[in-house]
Subunit: 141 residues, 2 copies
Amino acid sequence: MKLSRAQCQTILETHHVKVTEPRLAVLEFMGTQTGPIKAYDIIHGLTVNPPTVYRALTSLTEAGILHRIESLNAYMFCLHPGHDHAHGHDHEIFFTICDQCGQVDEIDHDLKTNLTSVLKARNFKPKRRIFEIHGACENCF
Amino acid sequence: MKLSRAQCQTILETHHVKVTEPRLAVLEFMGTQTGPIKAYDIIHGLTVNPPTVYRALTSLTEAGILHRIESLNAYMFCLHPGHDHAHGHDHEIFFTICDQCGQVDEIDHDLKTNLTSVLKARNFKPKRRIFEIHGACENCF
DNA sequence: AATTTCATAGCAATCTTGTATCAAAATCAT
DNA sequence: ATGATTTTGATACAAGATTGCTATGAAATT
């Protein structure tokens, strides 16, 4: 999915992220790879220091340009850039992760429909599910 | 929730896990703590080597005695020990994680009911959701 | 134009988390 | 008992992430 510098810049601008060299470099690097990418792939690939990469990844993720896959310690391009990924809606983003080939898919799931049937329709055989919701509990809200 | 050696042994036996010293020690240590526990808390608490603890945690988790919380890199006792946590059923285990006080709750969620309403009923205010499903994709099944 | 402010960047060090390796011991099934 | 398998133990190391501090550069304030 090779991205030019100009394309990277456009991505940043449309997501209202300040355009900086590390962010451009990380975005560009990610465009050369396919599937989930680890922070240290970038650190080694670009020979930059860890904080530089982690800061870029954080801002790109917060902007919704990337997703962080917690169970892989890895990052992916968001495939549903138009959507609001915040909570409180009638849909939810799921990731399916093939443990064999490593492919990660992003599913925009309508909460009213049955997840099992969605997975079946995609011929994805689930083995392990990770459903974790961060927020504020009753006492701390 | 203090667990005696005998109780730890019973837990292992009822889950068909071989009873070994490291597993007993880790279980017992976890019984002295409350909430999610990190591997290095155990490593430091028991002054044992990392591989010993990670191996014990892996077997305890695989047996369904513990859960691993991916977004915290931490482990918790399973609060629904009677249930089948495998997939393909009409319920799903969710974790709610309070970012303020650190409390983690395990929700056994009936997939037919609306998750948002369940959270609302518990007065949990969600901020960030992590839904990741590992398995085998169409091509690799 | 000069100054303050604030987010970002660079660098080094450090901390946290998790694995690889390989040999010794324990366990189990003939 | 003997051989195969599993589990352990110890050392080392790799991978993942953060902290502290200084410096820079753009934007806001005077």
